[in-house]
Amino acid sequence: MSKSIFELVDQLPTSGLTISMLNSLDFVAPGQWQNTVGFVNTIKTVTGETDEDLIQQIGERAIYLFNDKSQGYQTALWLYQTVDSTDKALGAAALANKVGEKIPLLGFLNSVTPKPDKAQTIDLTLKLVAELVAFCQINGIPGDSIGDFVASLGEYSGESLIRMVALVCVDGLIPLGPDFISKAISGLNQTNPQELEKNSTFQNIKDVIPGNNSAGKLNFIGESFDSVKGWMSGLVDANNLTPQKVAHNLQGFVEIADDKLDYLAAFLDVATNYYEHTGTQTLARRLIERAVAEI
């Protein structure tokens, strides 16, 4: 872990493709996500405290907690960073070619390659598993019952909620279509452990996915996806989400034709890092909540 947690939070951007994309998804969860950046600013926002000595104490405790490897926070951050397959150069090139407020995606059709459905399914489900594992690394398994744990998961709000909204929209609906949930389930059912092992994200994070071997881990991935499919379809139904509706909202910052949605998905996949961005915010918030309670 080369950078300190306060540097990471201080360096979170206030503009760029990731921020534009998350703001475009605000219509699914209105007002839920504020792009809170800056370590001290996050302490003030989360705790409501303004005394500088107190802020210093909270910050110092949060830094100690993050740097203690046994506490799992570093693993969680690493997961959020690793499942984003961001190509920063492409993102920068796209921004440089902006015409007015929008990026003409037509110019990037040669630079991005849409993924086959199966590869996209594995990506989607791995991001979900990363979220689940990161949640447990950050929060433990709160409460004494499955019900407590599910209630705690149900408390997704703010940056955690917008991350899940983006997962459904950008990694589910746009690349896989309106029936992405059933497509993902059948895709996983047809995936064997050897195919899973060929996925580079899986290779990177497999050590933290529960399961004795690739078959066991594949099983866990399937169970995880199965356990949240109800929540995902609820989100889709409640907001009448369709690939076209999501794409229409994204057109505030990127210009794309409806028949090129697979290219839009491929472009957003490499040009944004929404998991890392909002994951850093989630982690900072939880660290600060714990720090202020412990001092």
């Binding site: 300190s4 306060f6 370590f39 705790t47 409501g48 405290e49 303004t50 005394d51 107190l54 210093q56 910050g59 110092e60 405790r61 830094i63 100690y64 907690l65 740097n67 203690d68 490897k69 046994s70 506490q71 799992g72 950050i138 929060n139 433990g140 398994i141 709160p142 409460g143 004494d144 407590d148 209630a151 705690s152 408390e155 939880r286 909540e289 714990r290 202020v292 309670a293 412990e294 001092i295």
Partner: protein
């Protein structure tokens, strides 16, 4: 002409001095640099001591839902457990128990306490926090909404099963 050249030399000189000083002056240390250095001396165990009580031990001492308040557990880590209180769908407060063995300063701040809540030494911290020390454990209630006042915090501190927590080793 000569004056002109002198001016140019002077300008160049000033510019190089400027570049030199800005490039070579070390950046002033930030307010968290020192603690970053201290806390990375070891890789593991510096924030939470090995013998700290597991957070799962604390859950049973938390107050339950009541009076229109909903309680949702949010964190359970070694030496720490936390739940939030919600009312009308809004977060109004956080409830927590922590083992002060890892944070000696936490227990020390109670030595000046003149107040008691539920029979235990109590302190107010900042604008949003009320805490009591029960044996080696700190119980804290933190407001997350202005409607949740210091007296609400004191009420909720009393709702924890404090006497049972005091017996936890």
């Amino acid at each position: 002409m000569i004056l002109h050249r002198e001016r140019r030399v002077l300008a160049a000189l000033l510019l190089s001095v400027l570049l030199l000083t800005t490039a070579c002056t070390p950046q002033a240390p930030g307010r968290f640099d020192q603690v970053q250095k201290e806390s990375t001396q070891q890789k593991s165990g510096q924030a939470v001591v090995k013998k700290a009580t597991q957070g799962s031990e604390f859950n049973k001492f938390f107050p339950g839902a009541s009076g229109g308040y909903q309680r949702v557990y949010t964190q359970e880590k070694k030496g720490f457990a936390e739940a939030k209180l919600k009312k009308g769908g809004k977060d109004v407060a956080m409830l927590s128990i922590s083992d002060t063995t890892s944070t000696p300063g936490t227990a020390a701040k109670f030595s000046n306490s003149t107040k008691k809540i539920g029979g235990y030494p109590a302190v107010e911290v900042g604008k949003t926090q009320s805490a009591i020390l029960v044996g080696k454990y700190q119980v804290k209630v933190l407001s997350r909404d202005p409607s949740f006042t210091a007296s609400d915090r004191a009420d909720w501190l009393k709702k924890f099963n404090l006497n049972a927590l005091a017996k936890l080793k």
